[in-house]
Subunit: 139 residues, 6 copies
Amino acid sequence: MIFLTRKAEFSAAHFYWIDSWSQEENERVFGKCANRNGHGHNYTVEVTVGGEVDPVNGFVVDLKELKDILDREVVSVYDHRHLNYEVPEFRTAIPTTENIAIAIWNRLEGKIPKAHLHRVRLYETHDLFADYYGELDGE
Amino acid sequence: MIFLTRKAEFSAAHFYWIDSWSQEENERVFGKCANRNGHGHNYTVEVTVGGEVDPVNGFVVDLKELKDILDREVVSVYDHRHLNYEVPEFRTAIPTTENIAIAIWNRLEGKIPKAHLHRVRLYETHDLFADYYGELDGE
Amino acid sequence: MIFLTRKAEFSAAHFYWIDSWSQEENERVFGKCANRNGHGHNYTVEVTVGGEVDPVNGFVVDLKELKDILDREVVSVYDHRHLNYEVPEFRTAIPTTENIAIAIWNRLEGKIPKAHLHRVRLYETHDLFADYYGELDGE
Amino acid sequence: MIFLTRKAEFSAAHFYWIDSWSQEENERVFGKCANRNGHGHNYTVEVTVGGEVDPVNGFVVDLKELKDILDREVVSVYDHRHLNYEVPEFRTAIPTTENIAIAIWNRLEGKIPKAHLHRVRLYETHDLFADYYGELDGE
Amino acid sequence: MIFLTRKAEFSAAHFYWIDSWSQEENERVFGKCANRNGHGHNYTVEVTVGGEVDPVNGFVVDLKELKDILDREVVSVYDHRHLNYEVPEFRTAIPTTENIAIAIWNRLEGKIPKAHLHRVRLYETHDLFADYYGELDGE
Amino acid sequence: MIFLTRKAEFSAAHFYWIDSWSQEENERVFGKCANRNGHGHNYTVEVTVGGEVDPVNGFVVDLKELKDILDREVVSVYDHRHLNYEVPEFRTAIPTTENIAIAIWNRLEGKIPKAHLHRVRLYETHDLFADYYGELDGE
């Protein structure tokens, strides 16, 4: 068993807001992130897959294929988008670092041939990131 | 003469759009950046000041003062904001990397005691940045 | 279950020395670190907490609260300090990368509401770091 | 139990090629990596060891000793080498990121006094890395 | 006048060798780089262009066009190549960091519309880089 | 003319203090840096030299020689030292980022064969650095 990790980047806008709360309540909990004009980040996602190394070609996963899946399922949907307005899963869930990591997991799970998805790490800034291992996996 | 550089970061949303152009023209020139919902970045600004080292305290500029000026004049105005909607200079100028660098220069010029402003470098992503030295300074 | 990691930085001085050893023995084991004038580092600490994402606000932990705890319990005590002389736990324990990671864990454990402390990672330089998961946690 | 990680770097050339395949098949699977003139990378290896902190000196492992082992067993063998032509294990195995991580594990296992080898992480570029925990260790 | 910088990366193999010198002389001057099997690097190139900001679109240069030129003239020629064997300018000149920076300048000069080429910076590793400003430009 | 830059690192302790000032005055000007127990940093120095590329070997400077000079003149004197107590030039000058950059320049000037010293850049942290070009050089 070996783990391979590929990084990708996307730039997106978001804000944090709960409709059923007052402006004051939203600002108290979410601070500057409650600004409904939105702000944004250069997000970095690290996708880790695990599996056996193919004894012939030395790969646990076809890197080109992994990159294509990541581009198609995540980057093309999130990059240069306003997450709250344009990405379906964030119409109901707030696009926090945690929720984006989970959403990326859900978009990738079951789509990677031969290897299994082990972890999604999402950096919002260089000093804040979330790790998600799926529903059953402990670390 | 010595130069001192301080970095600061802010997260903001923006988009590129010219009202007098058609949707097609905007998309042809600005690509994905023409999405008017906005997207965003973790911007990094490097402010370089030049001057003589004070022979008593060894400083070219008071670092605490430089940080306060940078926070007050730039970071507090740009951070967690939508540049197109909330920052006055980008109601008319498109918030490109180049224009943001120039705008930061204009916000800081003449406000730094003892040292002169030498350069503003603005990173939009880790692989794209603009340098501005003011109107008269060559490099 | 999801994990959230926040980084913080502090600059501190330290040295390695055991009083009951001779100068030669200290230098043999600790090399240049045995210089009792001290040297120093820009330390980076990564604090990882684990828990369930709150279905309402999308957070595993209140980030502002986590930052305040980290500042109060760790950064304000260690930053711009000489670890051997000014931080109580290093009057007896040598402030190695390993021992600082454990000390930070002990300072934070039980103080984070809702989430549990999962890991403390401490970088002494960019190419050396220690990870501590507490006494009972395997990785 | 605590984990300590040390990074090291080496620059090497490699290519991907299977003799029993045609040129077309090699290029289809390995893309630009099938160029038999070779290309190269600045590899970064992170070696993580686990163990108990020595209550006297505060170390889980002697850092100087760990660095010497890493230099002798890995860096001096791989640095400024063509992996396919000059490193024995890659005469038969293709030097993929995965296989190099495993090879480094095999070179280090059993050679580190007091601590056990926990993980070898190998970066081929800043956005691609493999993690290996040995044959029996899960993460 | 403003300066815009774009980074790009390529992975390549190279070695240092002068045919008219003996093996000993080559090794004395070039050390481990004289290994004719080649070794390699992840090179990073930063291309800086200077010019006036277009008052309409806010650009000093069309970024998409700059990226295309850089890909076509440099990355597609150098990436995953053995510089000594496959890139014409290094059949005669040794592919040192200095010479690669100059070669990239020569490949780009005169090809960038509207802006002028100001500087080529080439990183061979994170701690070694060369800057070239062309034949007439001082810094 | 081309410029070559080499980075090196050292870890050192320092503090800011003027004997003829009161404790209050020192703390007002220097803040936390006035703690006379000292604190410390991982400093990074970038040394840039300029010259002509040797048409035979492709070097502006012998890299091995540059590294040896940098190690001998700077790193071996500053690394794992308390700058205020152990480095002669900081018995009188306060070891600010600015003054350390100048001191490194003075230690290196005139010692580099064939190329001239162009710039010394000193990072105290990743977000603060000083650049010195000598007494006569403008940027």
